[in-house]
Symmetry: C2
Subunit: 409 residues, 2 copies
């Protein structure tokens, strides 16, 4: 029998975990595995708020794919997916076309702008190594530019749209970073404004108990963060944002963290989507094309209560485990195992040494929560790369990030 | 007798050295000294090419003025000069007006654009801590921006107009910096272009012997620098420069180092100027107002051959010595001492470990020249701040520049 051709699109949480589990579990000759990704590295999306703000180096948020996979078992193709052809069982890349027997789609998310005019053109978002490197540089550039044009106080105003998980974690880091930038650029910290705009009436990740929200907002306010709640961004322009309360905030930096949607390739391929995401069956497969597994931000998994689970790293990792197993069971003719999400909790960082969250039903906050947050990061690194990766990215990170650079900030 | 009121405008080489020499030599009650500067630091213009390129930190190119002067002897005023009124013997500052008996003008230079359209708006220049911090950030920003928009290859093109002293030293550092930036931003070094455009037929500081020019250009070419000699910039636009050979070079970064002129305040004050600079008498005083001494880039000193000496740090420092002495001799009724420039030579850095120049009549190049260059820097630091300043800015500099910064590049 010819080995089955498995193609995995995207080396995010879902794709990488699927690949790593498969390489561990497959028997010789059972399948060929091809992993396609547009970069030659995997990045930890949950860590991107730090390099975006400049409080950690982007090298600590990524791992070379060749350090994760066994190239005797998985062929890695660095390319960009142009088109998925599920009826032909083919995938068109920039420079090649692959055919598959089974496909795993883990192509991640795109920014959801909700049609707000100007957002795509003028706002930055925290979604990749490239984008966070850009945000960090943009932030520093604004300080340098302000010193050349001190009449432009708006260069020192930072508007973050969205006070959910990503927005909150980024704002916490940015507030920590501002005093350092002020010293580096000889800027009076009183001139810097961080304004977090949120359409819903509360800040911080949805679902957090009220007392934790209050605790978290107090932590953030002490760092100098201003909140504008129950306020929507109505339009984004090159020099600022127009809010639903009629105010126009002039700002040199506009970050949008107000929402994501699934990768547009799925809709283009004819999958039924809701905000670009595909509702999957119990085994994480497309209802239309059962030979296509869909993981992470591209998928919608319904809870037993009938509401979709929020897309995050935690669920994507578990989906990777399940997908790898069910791919093997499919080939081996065993009954598939339905996906059951084991929700362990959520912890949002609020900057250095502060976090809030819930673990199962326990609330955590402060330094303890920050420690838990670090343990969650470490657990993931262990899972994909073992102790050496924890060592490299967390313990040795100070050294790592110093290595290649002459000059700072 | 009331002490004479001496006001020194500008804490550049000329102003700072005048101040430091005066505070050493004056007798109690002889004069009051006020030093006016728009920043609370003095910077070493000859060192600015390094922080501009990002190969050294700007903290190593400046010294707090309070670390240089004795505040019991010199009053430091941080303010910007708005107007000099030499007939009224007054100086108007942003927030005060000072009257003087003797004035020392060391207000430095401005960029000379020679009327080239667009240069003022679109080109950056290496002339202050603020401007070099901006250039460094702009350079990094271009790399980050390119990664977000890889179709814009021009973001990786750097045009430097002027291949004289400043242009050459900057280009040498920039070429050293590029490989580091390419690693940090995952950019193929082959995509980066550094183009040094010069209207005259040779690059490198004027007056350098031909063999040294050839040596220097060869060093630079090996680093990837492209020269366009006998080529003038005819116009500068937001996205590039138009050259006299008809070519338009699209470039994300345009640095102009093609010329400087004296501070415009002198012409506005009614001084006879040539390119903003005042031809001074044998004692460095204005012919029109003998109570006004003029040093550094604001002054023109004629050589015995009847040609003006080039303005540089070396002559400004010597002018500071002479001015301090002649101010005291004036008050003490002694005959003044004419200024005699002791030209010690010029060494231009070509990046790490490489330099070319002449010392008196001896040619130097390579590592030896680079060492001499370091000694020249050290000598100046010793002169203004003694061993502690050499220690702080040159020996401890690695530590210094690491201190305040989380993250690099």
């Amino acid at each position: 029998m010819k080995p089955a051709k498995v193609v995995i699109l995207g080396a995010g949480y879902g794709g990488v975990v699927t690949a790593i589990r498969l390489q561990k579990l497959i028997r010789s000759g059972e399948m060929t595995i091809t992993l396609v990704n547009k970069h030659d590295y995997h990045y930890m999306t949950t860590h991107l708020h730090m390099p975006a703000a400049g409080t950690d180096h982007h090298e600590n948020a990524r791992v070379a794919i060749r350090d994760l996979i066994d190239e005797r078992k998985i062929q890695f193709v660095k390319s960009t997916v142009q088109q998925i052809l599920p009826t032909d069982k083919k995938v068109v890349l920039t420079d090649d076309t692959l055919s598959y027997d089974y496909l795993v789609v883990g192509l991640g998310s795109e920014t959801e702008t909700f049609g707000i005019p100007g957002l795509r053109e003028h706002a930055m978002s925290i979604h990749s190594i490239n984008s966070v490197r850009f945000i960090r540089q943009h932030t520093q550039y604004m300080f340098a530019k302000y010193k050349m044009n001190p009449q432009h106080k708006e260069y020192l105003t930072f508007v973050v749209g969205g006070a959910g998980f990503t927005g909150t974690e980024f704002v916490g880091e940015l507030a920590d970073r501002i005093p350092v930038l002020c010293r580096t650029y000889d800027v009076d910290p009183a001139l810097v404004q961080i304004i977090n705009v949120e359409a819903s009436p509360t800040a911080l990740p949805p679902g957090l108990p009220n007392d934790l929200v209050e605790y978290g907002m107090e932590v953030m306010r002490r760092k100098g963060v201003q909140y504008k709640l129950s306020t929507a961004i109505q339009a984004c322009e090159a020099d600022g944002v127009r809010l639903s309360d009629g105010q126009f905030i002039r700002a040199g930096t506009i970050i949008w963290s107000g929402g994501v949607r699934g990768n547009a390739l799925l809709q283009q391929a004819g999958f039924d989507v809701q905000r670009g995401r595909v509702k999957v069956d119990d085994y994480l497969r497309s209802w239309q094309y059962p030979d296509v597994f869909i993981t992470g931000d591209c998928s919608i998994v319904m809870s037993p209560e009938g509401t979709p689970y929020p897309a995050n790293a935690q669920i994507a990792v578990q989906q990777g485990y399940n997908t790898a197993r069910n791919l093997l069971y499919t080939l081996r003719g065993k009954p598939l195992r339905p996906f059951a999400y084991d929700y362990k909790g959520t912890v949002a960082s609020l900057g250095r040494g502060e976090a809030v969250g819930t673990l199962k039903v326990k609330k955590v906050k402060g330094k303890f929560a920050a420690l838990i947050k670090k343990m969650i990061d470490a657990r993931y690194l262990f899972l994909i790369g073992g102790i050496p990766l924890i060592w490299k990215k967390m313990i040795f990170k100070q050294k790592m990030s110093n290595r290649n650079f002459h000059v700072r900030s």
